[in-house]
C-alpha cells in the first residue's frame, strides 16, 4: 500500500513540472507584456518594473527560479495587485471555492447515488426510465444554461432565492451548489446504475441469493462494494473538475472564489496570477486523483498496490 502511494506520488512530479513549464511558456509566448496597458508610463518605468519582476532574465532562469519558489509555496507577487502575493490571493479565494465545491459534491453524490440505485434496483421500470431521463437532462443542460435558467425561474419569476452573492443573503448558496453539482450528479447516477447492474449480474450475486440472503443484504453487502468502484474512481477527477468548473458558476453568481480570480487574471494578463492558479488547480487535480485511486484500491482486494495493469 505504502509502495503504491509512493509510486503514485512520484508519478505526480513530472506531471506538475510539465504543467508549470507549459503554463510558463504559454504565458510568456503571449503577445504584449503585462504593463502594456499602462500607456502613459515612460519606458524607464516599464524597464524598472520589468527589472523588479525579473522579466529581463533568460527564460530558463526565470522558469527555474519560479519552480524553486513554487516548491516553497511562493508563487510570486501579483502583477495586478501590487503588494499582494499570488499565494495570498489564492488563499483568500480558496475557502469560498472549496465550500462551493463541497456542497456541490455532496449534492452530486447524494442525488446521483440515490437515483442510480433506484434505477438499478428495477431496471427498465418507470423508476429506471425517470431516473435516467433526469440523468440525461443533467448531462445535456450545461451549467451555463442551467444556472441562468434556475435564476430565471427561482429568483426572478418565483422570487424564492437571491439572484447572486455568497454568504450575503439567505439561501444564496443553494442555486450555485445545485448548478455546479447537477452534471456530476447525472454522471454519478449513470455510473452507479451501470456499475450495480454489472455487479448484480455476476455469478457471486447468484451465490448470495442461493444462500437465502434478503434482497437488501444482497445489494448492500455483496453488490455495493464492487458496484460503486466506478463511482469512486470517478469522484477524484469529478471533484477536481468541479473546482476548475467553478469559474463559470462563480462568474454567473458573482462568487468571490478562485475561479473568478482566474478568469479575471486571464483577461488582465496577470502572469503570475494565471500561473499560480493553474498550478494550484493542477495540484488539486493530481491530489484528488491520487485519493480516489487509493480508495478504489482499498475497496478492491484484487488490486495488489503494484500499480495499474
Amino acid at each position: 500500500m505504502f509502495r503504491f502511494v509512493l509510486v503514485r506520488l512520484l508519478q505526480a512530479i513530472p506531471v506538475l513540472l510539465i504543467v508549470i513549464s507549459i503554463t510558463f511558456m504559454l504565458v510568456r509566448a503571449a503577445p504584449g507584456g503585462p504593463f502594456d496597458s499602462e500607456k502613459n508610463a515612460p519606458p524607464e518605468v516599464i524597464q524598472k518594473l520589468n527589472e523588479r519582476y525579473h522579466l529581463n532574465d533568460s527564460l530558463i532562469t526565470q522558469l527555474s527560479d519560479y519552480i524553486s519558489n513554487a516548491l516553497q509555496g511562493d508563487l510570486g507577487p501579483s502583477f495586478r495587485y501590487p503588494g499582494r502575493s499570488v499565494t495570498e490571493i489564492i488563499f483568500t479565494g480558496l475557502p469560498v471555492t472549496l465550500e462551493l465545491g463541497l456542497y456541490a459534491t455532496c449534492f452530486a453524490i447524494v442525488i446521483g447515488l440515490l437515483t442510480g440505485l433506484i434505477a438499478s434496483y428495477r431496471p427498465n421500470s418507470w423508476q429506471d426510465y425517470s431516473a435516467m431521463t433526469f440523468a440525461m437532462t443533467g448531462i445535456c443542460l450545461p451549467s451555463f444554461v442551467l444556472g441562468p435558467l434556475l435564476i430565471l425561474i427561482f429568483s426572478i419569476w418565483l422570487e424564492w432565492l437571491p439572484v447572486s452573492g455568497w454568504n450575503q443573503f439567505n439561501g444564496d448558496k443553494i442555486l450555485p451548489s445545485i448548478t455546479l453539482g447537477a452534471a456530476y450528479a447525472a454522471y454519478i447516477s449513470r455510473l452507479t446504475r451501470g456499475g450495480m447492474l454489472e455487479i448484480l449480474s455476476q455469478d457471486f450475486i447468484r451465490t448470495a441469493r442461493a444462500k437465502g440472503l434478503s434482497e437488501t443484504r444482497v445489494i448492500l453487502k455483496h453488490g455495493l462494494k464492487g458496484g460503486l468502484l466506478p463511482v469512486v474512481t470517478f469522484l477524484g477527477p469529478a471533484f477536481a473538475g468541479l473546482l476548475s468548473g467553478s469559474f463559470i458558476i462563480e462568474t454567473i453568481f458573482q462568487i468571490p472564489g478562485i475561479g473568478r480570480l482566474y478568469v479575471q487574471a486571464a483577461f488582465n494578463r496577470d502572469y503570475t496570477m494565471i500561473m499560480g492558479t493553474t498550478i494550484f488547480f493542477a495540484t488539486l487535480i493530481v491530489v484528488f486523483n491520487l485519493i480516489s485511486d487509493i480508495i478504489a484500491a482499498m475497496l478492491n482486494p484484487r488490486i495488489t498496490y503494484k500499480g495499474k495493469n
Partner: protein, 294 residues
C-alpha cells in the same frame, strides 16, 4: 470438379453484424429521434443561407429587442437582429467545431491507440504513460489560457479541443485493440502468414469500428459543449459571428427583461446535446447488445 457445380442460386445471404445492429437501432425510438434531429440540424446548417429569413448581421435598432412574432419567429435581440437567423448560423459554428475537432481527436486517437494496443510491450507502456501524464493536465484551463494568449482563433480552437479529446479515444481504441488482439482469429491469421498491415486493416480495425463510432458520436456533444462554454466566457467565437454559447451568454445578460433571448438558444443547444447523446447510447446498445449499461 463435379462437386463445385453447386446450385449457386440457392446461396443463403448472411446477415452481417452491422445489419443486426441497424435493425436493433431502428427499434430504439429515442435513438431514431436523435438521428432525425441530427440530420435535420446538419441540413439547416448547410442550407442556412437559403432558409434564413434575414441576414445575420442585419440590425433594426428601431425594433430593439422584441418578443417572438410572425415576422420574427423567435424574437429579436437588443440590436434588433433576428434571433432565429442567428441561431441558424450559430448551428454552423457549433456543428463545425463539433465535427472538425472530433475528426482531429479521432485521427490521433485511433492511430495512437492502435499502435499502442497492437504492438503491446514496452511501446505500449511508454505510449500509455504519456497519455496518463497528459490526462492529469488541467486541459480546460489550458484551452482558456491558449485562447487568452493567442487570441480567439477558431482553427486553434478546433485543434486545442481535438488535442484534448483524443486521449480518451486513444484509451478506448487501445483496450479494444488489445482485446481483439487476444482473439484466436488473430492468432489464426498470423499463423497463416498474413502481413501485419493487412491483419490490422482487415481483422482488427473492422472489429473496433463499433465502439469507435459510438464514442465518436458521444464526443461530438462534448466538443460542442466545450466550444459553447468558451464562447460563453467570451473566449470562443468573435462577434458579429455567433455561436450558441455566445448567444446564451448575451441572453444571460438580459434575461430579466428579455427571457426569450436566453431560452431559445439554450433550448437549441440542449436539444442538440440530447439528440447526440441518445443517438450515441442507442448505437452502443445496438452495436453491443450486452453493454446496455453505464
Amino acid at each position: 470438379m463435379a462437386t463445385a457445380a453447386i446450385d449457386l442460386k440457392n446461396i443463403q445471404q448472411g446477415r452481417s453484424l452491422w445489419q443486426d445492429a441497424m435493425s436493433r437501432l431502428k427499434q430504439n425510438h429515442l435513438a431514431v429521434f436523435g438521428l432525425g434531429v441530427v440530420i435535420f440540424l446538419i441540413l439547416i446548417a448547410i442550407f442556412a443561407d437559403l432558409i434564413a429569413p434575414y441576414s445575420y448581421e442585419e440590425q433594426n435598432l428601431a425594433l430593439g429587442a422584441s418578443p417572438p412574432s410572425a415576422d420574427h419567429w423567435l424574437g429579436t435581440d437588443t440590436l434588433g437582429r433576428d434571433l432565429f437567423t442567428r441561431i441558424l448560423y450559430g448551428s454552423r459554428i457549433s456543428l463545425m467545431v463539433g465535427i472538425l475537432a472530433t475528426t482531429v481527436a479521432l485521427t490521433i486517437g485511433v492511430t495512437w491507440g492502435t499502435i499502442s494496443g497492437y504492438l503491446g510491450g514496452r511501446v505500449d507502456m511508454v505510449m500509455m504513460r504519456i497519455v496518463d501524464i497528459l490526462y492529469a493536465l488541467p486541459f480546460t484551463i489550458f484551452i482558456i489560457l491558449l485562447m487568452v494568449v493567442f487570441g480567439r482563433n477558431i482553427y486553434l480552437l478546433f485543434f486545442a479541443i481535438g488535442a484534448v479529446e483524443w486521449l480518451t479515444m486513444a484509451r478506448i481504441v487501445r483496450s479494444q485493440v488489445m482485446s481483439i488482439r487476444n482473439q484466436e482469429y488473430i492468432d489464426a491469421v498470423i499463423s497463416m502468414g498474413l502481413p501485419r498491415w493487412r491483419i490490422i486493416t482487415r481483422h482488427v480495425l473492422p472489429n473496433i469500428l463499433g465502439p469507435v463510432i459510438v464514442y465518436t458520436t458521444l464526443t461530438i456533444p462534448g466538443v460542442i459543449l466545450l466550444e459553447s462554454f468558451l464562447s460563453f466566457l467570451g473566449l470562443g467565437i468573435q462577434p458579429p459571428m455567433s455561436s450558441w454559447g455566445s448567444l446564451i451568454s448575451n441572453g444571460v445578460e438580459t434575461m430579466e427583461e428579455y427571457p426569450w433571448l436566453l431560452i431559445f438558444p439554450a433550448l437549441t443547444l440542449s436539444v442538440t446535446l440530447f439528440s447526440l447523446n441518445f443517438l450515441g447510447d442507442g448505437l452502443r446498445d445496438a452495436i453491443d447488445p450486452r453493454s446496455a449499461k453505464d
